[in-house]
Symmetry: C2
Subunit: 322 residues, 2 copies
C-alpha cells in the first residue's frame, strides 16, 4: 500500500492552476481528497475530472473568515495549503490584499489545524522568497535574502509561521519553493500574455525587457510529482525543497515557440524596463529533491507547448481577468 | 549640525524598556521625538526624563486600530518601529497575540507610513530570526534558517514586509537584530527573574538548563548607540545590522553576580529542560556595524550590575506581571 493510500487530506486552493493538478496527483496516489476553495480565482472546471472520483469532494468557503474550516479539517491527516494570490508581478498594487490572501490565510489555516489536531502541512511557497538573490543556482540554505516583492515577503513570512508552529506545537511541515510553473490550466504569466496578445493582434507583440533574459520554469506535473516525493520521503520536521526545471529559455525563444504554434509571425518589440523585484535569473538548486529521486522530466519547450495547447482548447481562459 | 538635529521622528513603543532608551538617545542627538505607545507593557515612568524635554511628546494610542496614527505620522521624517511583544519565551502561549502585536502592527505602521508619505523606517528585530542557527557567530547573511519560535517568526516576517515595502514603494529601512539586552528599565528575562526570585527567597534558586550554557547579551545603551550609527551611516536601501556584545557569561556566573549584589548566598538547583526554541548559543557577528565604528563598550558583568541596581532602586518593577 502506498504512502498516500487512504490518507485523508485537505487541499486549500485546490481549484487553482497548480492546486487542481495537486488534487489529481493525490487522487492518483490513493488519497481521499477534500478541496477547499472559494472558486473565485480558481475554476471549478479544473476539477471536473477530479470530482468524478468518489474520493474527492469540494467545499466552497471563504478561508479568511474560517467558514466551514472546522468541518473541512475534522478528521484530516494532512493539509496541503495551496490557496494564495500567486501574482508576483502585480502584488505591489494591492499589498493588503496579497498579505490577506497569503499571510493572513496561512495564520487562519494554522490556527484551525491546531483546533482540529491536524499535525501535518505542506505549503506552496516560491523561489521569490530568495529576494535579492546572492547565489545562483540558489539552494534552500541560501544567504538570508532581502525581500523585494510583496508576494515574496508574504510567502517567506508564511514559511516562518508554519515553521514556528511546527516547532512549538508538534507539527510537521514541508515547504516547496517553486520556480514559475507552466502547463495545462495555466492562465496568467508571460506565456499566457503572449498567447492572449498574439490572439488579439498577430502582427506585433511587445515584451518586457530586452528579450535575452533566460527564464527557468518547471512543468506543473513534474512539480506535483516532486511535492508528493518530498512529502513521502522528506526526513525533517520542517522540510524545505526547491522545485525548478533544468531547462532555461530566453523570452525571445518562448515568443517564437508560441508564435509558431499559433501560426503567426509577429514583429517583436521590446520595452527597456522590467518590473521592480523581477528576478530574471531565478534558477533554483534542486539537489535536495533530486537526492530523493526527483527529475524535471519535461523540457521547457514541451511545457510551453502543452500550456499553449490547453489555452487554445479552452479559449475562455483568455477572456478571464487575471 | 548632526544627522539627527531637527529630524522629526516617531518612536512606536517608545515607553518600553528599549524604546525609552532610544527616545533618550534620539533627543540627545537633537531629534524632535513623538512617542507613540499604549503604555500597557511600557511604563510612563521610563519617559519621565524625556518628557521634560520640549522636543518630546507622547501620544497614547492603540496602534493596531490605527488610532491617532495619521496625526502621529503627519510631517515625520522617519519612524522607529519599536512597539512589540518582546517575550520570546512565552510567545507560544498566545501565538495570535504575538502575531498581532508584532507582525500585524508592522503592517499597520507600513500602510499608514505610505498614506502619510513617510519614507524611512528603522525596525527593532532580534537574533531570534536566525532560528535553527547554522553558523556561529552568526552574520546577517547567514544561511536561511528554519524558524522555531513564534516570536522569531513574527519578527522575520515583519522584516520581510518592511524590505518589500522599501523596494516597491521607494522607502528606506534599517533593521536591527538584537541579542538579548540588559540595562536600566529592564523588567523581564532571566536576570529579572533571578532578582525577583532571590528577593522573595534568598535561600535557594532554580535555573533553567544546567547553568553552564553561555549567553551573549548587549547593554541597552550600547545597542542604542549602534542603532543611531546604523541609521546615520548605513548605505543600503535596506540595511540589516546585528547588535550583540562580545562578552559571554554562563547562567551560573550571572546568578552569582546577582546574588553577590543582593548580599545573598543561595543554593542553586538546575532543571534539565529548557524551552523549545531556546538558543543558548546566540552569538551574533557584528562585523558590519563595527565597520561603521561601533563597539559594545560595556562588559556583561557591568550590564548585569546596572540592571540589578535599577531594579533595586525601582522595586515596583519586580511586582509587575511580565
Amino acid at each position: 500500500m502506498g504512502f498516500f493510500d487512504g490518507m485523508r487530506v485537505l487541499v486549500t486552493g485546490g481549484a487553482g492552476f497548480v492546486g487542481s493538478h495537486l488534487v489529481d496527483g493525490l487522487l492518483d496516489a490513493g488519497a481521499i481528497v477534500t478541496v477547499y476553495d472559494n472558486v473565485s480565482t480558481g475554476d471549478a472546471r479544473f476539477l471536473e475530472g477530479a470530482l468524478c472520483d468518489v474520493n474527492c469532494d469540494l467545499i466552497t468557503g471563504d478561508l479568511l473568515s474560517g467558514e466551514f474550516l472546522d468541518e473541512a479539517l475534522h478528521g484530516k491527516d494532512m493539509v496541503f495549503h495551496w490557496m494564495a494570490n500567486a501574482d508576483v508581478r502585480h502584488s505591489a498594487e494591492r499589498p493588503s490584499h496579497v498579505l490577506d490572501m497569503n499571510l493572513h490565510a496561512t495564520m487562519v489555516v494554522l490556527n484551525y489545524m491546531r483546533r482540529q489536531s491536524v499535525r501535518r502541512i505542506a505549503f506552496a511557497s516560491t523561489g521569490s522568497v530568495y529576494g535579492d538573490v546572492q547565489l545562483v543556482p540558489t539552494p534552500e540554505r541560501a544567504p538570508m535574502p532581502i525581500q523585494n516583492t510583496i508576494y515574496g515577503a508574504s510567502k517567506v513570512a508564511s514559511e516562518a509561521l508554519i515553521s514556528a508552529y511546527a516547532a512549538q506545537f508538534d507539527m510537521e511541515a514541508d515547504i516547496f519553493r517553486f520556480a514559475p510553473m507552466l502547463g495545462e490550466r495555466y492562465w496568467h504569466g508571460h506565456i499566457f500574455d503572449f498567447v492572449k496578445k498574439l490572439s488579439a493582434n498577430p502582427e506585433t507583440i511587445e515584451v518586457l525587457g530586452d528579450g535575452s533574459e533566460r527564464k527557468y520554469s518547471v512543468y506543473v506535473k513534474d512539480a506535483i510529482h516532486g511535492v508528493l516525493l518530498g512529502v513521502e520521503f522528506g526526513l525533517d520536521r520542517v522540510g524545505v525543497f526547491n522545485i525548478c526545471g533544468d531547462y532555461s529559455y530566453s523570452i525571445n525563444e518562448s515568443v517564437n515557440w508560441v508564435a509558431r504554434q499559433l501560426h503567426v509571425q509577429p514583429k517583436v518589440t521590446h520595452t527597456k524596463q522590467s518590473w521592480i523585484g523581477d528576478n530574471p535569473n531565478m534558477y533554483l538548486d534542486c539537489s535536495k529533491l533530486k537526492a530523493l529521486g526527483w527529475r524535471p522530466e519535461t523540457s521547457a519547450q514541451r511545457a510551453v507547448f502543452n500550456t499553449v495547447t490547453y489555452l487554445l482548447q479552452n479559449p475562455y481562459l483568455l477572456e478571464r481577468e487575471s
